[in-house]
């Protein structure tokens, strides 16, 4: 259980490297976790050949949701959108390096849902995006 609050998670929560907004941006999407009010927005810049050249997240929420957003954004810069589309639940768990129960999993996956809804140009960030 102590693992849940590994130092790296608390560090990314307290001192995130990629918090902020991008203006201008090519893709921007935001959504909430209705259970706890966590909120995440992700902005992307994408080159003409479909590579993520820059990314930021903004919002508020628990350590798990904010740290996973920071780690996720860090991991996609320089990657092609096609690869971003393939990210799933396991990719986030690998980034965090922890096991999560069903409730906290929702916190961890919020940023990925937001990212994928933005990349696919969807109106809503559904759970099916992260399976």
């Amino acid at each position: 259980m102590d693992d849940l609050y590994r130092e790296v998670i608390i560090e990314h929560y307290k001192n995130p490297s990629y918090r902020g907004k991008l203006d201008p941006h090519d893709i921007s999407f935001a959504d909430n976790n209705p259970l706890c009010g966590d909120h995440i927005q992700i902005d992307l810049r994408v080159s003409t050949d479909g590579i993520v050249t820059d990314a930021r997240f903004d919002g508020h929420g628990c350590a798990i949701s904010q740290a996973s957003a920071d780690l996720l954004v860090e991991s996609i810069i320089g990657k092609p959108l096609e690869e971003v589309k393939k990210l799933n639940k396991q990719s986030i768990l690998d980034l965090l390096g922890i096991e999560l129960g069903p409730v906290r999993l929702k916190c961890a996956l919020l940023s990925l849902k937001v990212l994928k809804a933005g990349v696919y140009g969807l109106g809503e960030a559904g759970d099916d995006l992260v399976e």
Partner: protein, 408 residues
């Protein structure tokens, strides 16, 4: 009389639970649902072992027995809230269903476009959404009694709202987030003077305070068994007899009828008119046992114990740097302490406390608009019931210090 906590805690087997090796449960989430004493668990178990049968339609021994038990529980619940008659106690699934029953049956028969319904900013979603739905369907108007900075209803604004001739005023007797105990009797009286019907959400008050339907004079009153030592799946809508009689039925089916023809029906008398289909029989019997348990302890004693714990908890919590507790002072509230801890999200607080077996709730507690009012997405909430002790408050406080250290 003060409660004998050593004896009381023995009545609740779950309080002995070890969650993990060496980690005992400290249950501080009774506002969400209370734990159940053995007498309630046994009453339901006994019913299934010895008396189970469907009610109201059989003549065999078990059918008579189960009907008597089901109706006997209703009688005791009626006495517990000092209703004039058990006919006015309608079994529902929970508070939410009770409020929806009023919204579907009474309100759809009585409210039209432009009619005003007054609610408050501290309502649980269950006393907001049914009215949002009716607003979308009927075009009724909604307005809200504001909550002041210290967590009380602004009664001056209430009086101004009343001058607009509302048809209905609906508010919670006690807030599940702030713990505020609202002056329900006065608010009902003012509503009546303005010609409005008053519906009171008693989900948090009936478990913790002595409530008296005849003194309170509310037209409708809603509460749930599971928050007052009883099982889930059963609650009550209390209503004034004349109103209930004038209302159309809610759900249609068996038990709620006197007579059915191929093309018509005649509704049953109260309370059965509103109880369609086979109800939660074992749960009603469990509810009766819960009311017996609370009656035996004495609601005044329960309230006094909770007050003592709450006062202690607020003092100790406010001592912790970075903790902010929401709601009024202990003399104006029930056993609820919703708080934020600077720089640390309530989810993280709750999760870290859980490692020490301390169960608190994190989130908006089904009162999102109230949290928005205070400009916070969520709080952690510790709540206290008749089985909680000062030692448990100390465990909570130590736990919060640990959380702070971790995020240091």
């Amino acid at each position: 009389m003060t409660l004998n906590l050593t004896e009381i805690r023995k009545d609740f087997p779950i309080l002995e639970r070890e969650l993990r090796a060496g980690v005992r449960l400290t249950y501080l989430d009774s506002t969400a649902t209370s734990q159940k004493p053995l007498s309630v668990i046994q009453a339901m178990d006994d019913f299934y072992r010895k008396s189970n049968a469907n009610i109201h339609r059989g003549v065999h021994t078990l059918a008579e027995e189960s009907t008597a038990m089901y109706e006997g529980a209703r009688e005791r619940i009626a006495t517990f809230i000092n209703a004039a008659s058990a006919r006015q106690v309608i079994y529902t699934r929970n508070t939410t269903e009770s409020i929806n029953l009023v919204a579907y049956s009474w309100a759809r028969a009585n409210l039209k476009q432009g009619d005003l319904v007054i609610l408050t900013e501290m309502e649980h979603h269950s006393n907001l959404v049914p009215w949002h739905m009716l607003q979308a369907e009927r075009g009724i108007e909604l307005d809200f009694i504001p909550v002041t900075e210290d967590g009380l209803l602004d009664l001056d604004v209430y009086k101004t709202l009343l001058s607009r001739s509302p048809k209905l005023v609906s508010f919670s007797h006690m807030s599940n987030v702030l713990g505020t105990i609202n002056p329900a009797a006065e608010m009902v009286r003012l509503a009546h003077e303005a010609g409005a019907i008053a519906l009171v959400d008693g989900a948090q008050s009936v478990p913790h305070l002595k409530v008296d339907m005849q003194a309170l004079d509310a037209d409708f009153y809603a509460f749930s068994a599971h928050k007052m030592c009883g099982p889930t799946g059963i609650g009550v809508l209390y209503g004034k007899a004349a109103l209930l009689e004038s209302m159309p039925p809610f759900l249609g089916g068996g038990d709620m009828i006197k007579e059915v023809k191929l093309r018509s029906f005649r509704a049953n008398s109260l309370p059965h008119k509103f109880e369609a289909g086979t109800p939660a029989i074992a749960e009603a019997i469990g509810f009766g046992a819960a009311v017996d348990y609370l009656t035996h302890l004495g609601m005044d004693n329960v309230a006094a114990h909770e007050h003592e714990i709450t006062e202690y908890a607020l003092d100790r919590l406010e001592e912790i740097p970075g903790v902010k507790v929401f709601g009024p002072s202990a003399d104006k509230k029930g056993g609820v302490a919703s708080f934020t801890l600077e720089g640390i999200h309530p989810h993280d607080v709750a999760q870290i406390l859980d490692r020490d077996g301390i169960a608190v709730r994190a989130g908006h507690h089904c009162a999102q608009p109230l949290h928005e009012k205070f400009g916070i997405p969520a709080t952690s909430r510790a709540s206290f019931y008749l089985y909680n002790t000062k030692e448990e408050v100390d465990l909570l406080v130590n736990g919060i210090y640990k959380v702070k250290k971790m995020f240091g």
